[in-house]
């Protein structure tokens, strides 16, 4: 049977992964929409698009840091329980 911290950790990891996927889908759409607008001659949308994309990337990086921390904690807890 899985230990409690491991189970909680996996749930947290899955939640973080789901959020990263959602953010990535939004970022992909944003890139496509910005490119389409740029090609249509609307240069004024490029800067706001870049700003929002930077925010989404920062959120993804923060979530990845969270994933790493949780993963590290779960591994440590597992190691302690084995000792």
């Amino acid at each position: 049977m899985e230990s409690r911290p491991s189970k909680k950790g996996l749930t947290a990891l899955d939640a973080a992964l789901t959020m990263i996927v959602v953010l990535l889908i939004v970022q992909m759409w944003l890139l496509t929409a910005t490119l389409e607008s740029y090609l249509a001659g609307h240069v004024d949308v490029v800067m706001p698009g870049l700003g929002v994309s930077a925010l989404l990337m920062a959120a993804c990086l923060a979530l990845y840091a969270f994933v790493r921390r949780i993963d590290h904690e779960v591994r440590r807890a597992r190691l302690r329980s084995h000792q």
Partner: protein, 175 residues
């Protein structure tokens, strides 16, 4: 000096060749959640780089200058007639339509979907792309139907006596 570490013993029941060729495909293919998150985050960074590239392209592209080129004489084109020409460069195909006695319109001939050549359908009064049935209004160039995402770039015309001149391109003309 540290002694060399021995490889782990083969799992029970494995054939002898496993000892020499200890690659386990299932383990090689296994991707942990952390690895997957890393891959997704790198993709996010890639998307951001794409946005930066668009901005750099927008900043570095200078405002284009267009030549003034004589395309045709008014008398050469009948009403609902068409004249194909190249503007602004030699490889840019364009189409001019005389929609009535006094009105001439011209557009880039490349469909904004996948660059197929559009043609004028006088009976329906629209420019049509035969590849994916994208239709454009002849008077404005806007998309009427189909997959094209943008209107056709409009070639700006000027009439000088009996001569029609192309003087520029409006890339986001509509209406």
């Amino acid at each position: 000096m540290t002694p060399p570490t021995l490889p782990p013993p083969p799992p029970e029941g494995d054939p002898l060749w496993r000892d020499e060729f200890s690659v386990y495909a299932a383990e090689e293919r296994y991707v942990s959640r952390r690895q997957f998150a890393k891959f997704l985050t790198l993709t996010s960074v890639g998307m951001f780089v794409g946005q930066v590239w668009i901005l750099a392209k927008a900043w570095m592209t200078p405002n284009p200058t267009y030549p003034v080129v004589a395309i045709a004489n008014v008398a050469d084109i009948p009403v609902q007639g068409v004249k194909l020409f190249r503007y602004p460069a030699e490889h840019d195909t364009a189409i001019m339509v005389r929609t009535d006695a006094e009105t001439f319109v011209a557009y880039s001939q490349k469909c904004t979907h996948l660059s197929c050549a559009v043609f004028y359908a006088p009976e329906r009064k629209r420019l049509e792309c035969p590849c994916h049935e994208g239709y454009f209004a002849v008077d404005t160039g806007r998309v009427l139907q189909g997959p094209p995402p943008r209107p056709l770039p409009r070639i700006l015309l000027r009439r000088d006596g009996e001569t029609i001149l192309a003087v520029g391109v409006d890339n986001h003309a509509e209406g």
